[in-house]
Symmetry: C2
Subunit: 345 residues, 2 copies
């Protein structure tokens, strides 16, 4: 038996195909081998990146020298450039725009071999604080319509450098998927006078079957119409449309649940490659009653994606309810609540 | 320098990042190694698949025995099932539907090791005729809203069996990407009273820079806002909204340009894994003035797709104009116009 499920926000249908029902052990292990060799993100190689735009550092250390805990630098091969003037023009039936924007890299720790979920929680919080600090700064540039924060972990997920890092891209347009979310959420709000994400969170917390974890401020769940096996969303319980409006206390709480969630995925799926994307409101609309910022985590376990790209029609071989159960049961070292949630590779 | 380009049909912006400008040789060769061993699609193993629903066979041979040239069977592990009754229902804020549909496999030739572009042209035409015959038949089932024809070639593109095959899925919904195309094309038609695809074909044939190849009935081009390096579209020159309305003569013409296009990709990119998806009108709307059926071919050369999945925002490291040039210049054996366009692996 399989069933079709509709994403309540953007209206996409997904096939949940239990015929191919997959448990964690059914996915081939794709843990990332260390490549060794020179790394431009390692301490001591600060001159091999463009000069840093932000860092958390030990007192008394100079920019672009060792002593940093988290370091943000412009991408050496940027997809978009901050220097370019924003020009829009037509070309017959086509429209184009200059590649104006920003593309930065958040180096998460000096330690080349430590994954984000293995950092101590205050360090995870500093990674998030560095991202949010850069978002707040980039938002001041009125050419930018959207700030994307995302992470590619592991070569199968598109990471070109092994040293753990997160990326920030500021764009002169609102990405299509974000625009669809905004539109779907606004339609629900117009109809119901409620935020669709708030509705989902309420129903999920009551049901429980798709909830992986929660703390005071946040909940982690596997979405009803998951596109990918073990797709996991992390949402604030209280309504808020922009991640950069979080207080420092809320960022600490987010760091705790992000570390825990990534740790559960790492344990259940043996250090899978994954992507996460922060979905937040556009630059000029920070306080929307109908939109709810969140983080979408997509482990890269299957390759059945080419056809899905072409059609927007996804086939997911793992029931989201099963995925949530596996993640809830992932081995946690209960004796070390603040420590690593799973053994190192 | 990079630039943003807007897909004129569905309105998606794409970053064309020439900073990372990639030529064919810059993509690691991912040619698919032969795995050997048992294959359920090989002649003699007909009883290892569900019974065939269609075949082109030698005279006097029985169904489900050797002697076929093209064979269509239900997928042994279907994503959707034809037996299921179509039931829609709600679950609080969520909507779901039974997994009713069809999932068939078109085995393209008895020869395990011959790629689609290496078949003799009449055989390629029979593959297409088998697909179209099955589409016409499945359309009679009024539960189905859309018939998807697609191919995953190579393990990185999601193929689980090596023996060349194409797949057909009949769905009780219209896939989101298709619905977006229909909507975008209808908006253009409402505004201009012209088909957007016809407009594009006219402009591209005049410009020439993104045209890869053409024959009497069809044109192959790299789209202006290509999401992927060497993304290639194959469109009928005359307006038509549904592939299953083609005449046998037009199918022969399509076979010729499909074989040539896949051959050019195979030569230029060293037998890359790829997906193709046929985009055609929904079952109950075969004759639309605003929609233009076509085939989208997506070579699987990069892995920078996780973030793209999450945002619908693509970064393409190869200029479509450069890709078209490389494909136009791909080595063709001019002395054997009807034969293979490139050497076997």
């Amino acid at each position: 038996m399989s069933e079709l499920r509709k994403d309540p926000i953007i209206g996409r249908w997904v096939i949940i195909s239990t015929e191919r029902g997959k448990r964690p052990v059914d996915f081939p292990s794709v843990a990332i081998p260390s490549r060794g060799g020179f790394c431009p993100f390692d301490p001591g190689n600060e001159d091999k990146t463009p000069p840093e735009v932000f860092a958390f550092r030990e007192p008394g250390t100079e920019p672009n020298t060792p002593g940093w805990r988290v370091r943000v630098v412009p991408n050496k091969f940027p997809a978009l450039r901050i220097e370019d003037q924003l020009v829009r023009r037509g070309e017959g039936v086509f429209d184009k725009m200059s590649g104006t924007g920003a593309h930065e890299v958040v180096i998460e720790s000096p330690d080349h071999g430590t994954a984000l979920c293995q950092l101590e929680q205050p360090q995870t919080a500093e990674v998030l604080k560095a991202c949010i600090q850069r978002m707040r700064d980039l938002k001041k540039d009125r050419r930018f319509r959207y700030i994307l924060v995302f992470k590619n972990y592991g070569e199968p997920a598109g990471a070109s450098l092994e040293h753990p890092h997160t990326q920030i891209i500021a764009t002169p347009i609102i990405p299509k998927r974000v625009a669809e979310e905004l539109k779907g959420a606004e339609q629900h709000y117009d109809l119901k006078e409620r935020c669709i994400f708030c509705d989902i969170i309420l129903q999920e917390l009551e049901d429980g079957v798709r909830v992986v974890s929660e703390n005071k401020d946040f909940v982690t769940l596997t979405p009803f119409a998951s596109r990918f096996p073990f797709e996991t969303w992390l949402l604030p319980k209280a309504h808020g449309s922009a991640v950069e409006l979080l207080s420092d206390g809320e960022i600490d709480s987010l760091a705790a649940i992000l570390k825990e969630t990534l740790g559960r995925l790492r344990c259940a799926l043996q250090a899978p490659p994954y992507n996460f994307v922060v979905h937040t409101a556009p630059c000029q609309d920070s306080r929307l009653p109908y939109y709810h910022w969140h983080i979408e985590i997509m482990p890269k376990l299957t390759k059945v994606a080419g056809f899905e790209w072409g059609t927007g029609f996804y086939i997911n071989p793992t029931l989201p309810e099963d995925a949530a159960k596996y993640l809830r049961e992932a081995a946690l070292d209960a004796t070390r609540p603040g420590g690593d949630l799973c053994p190192s590779r």
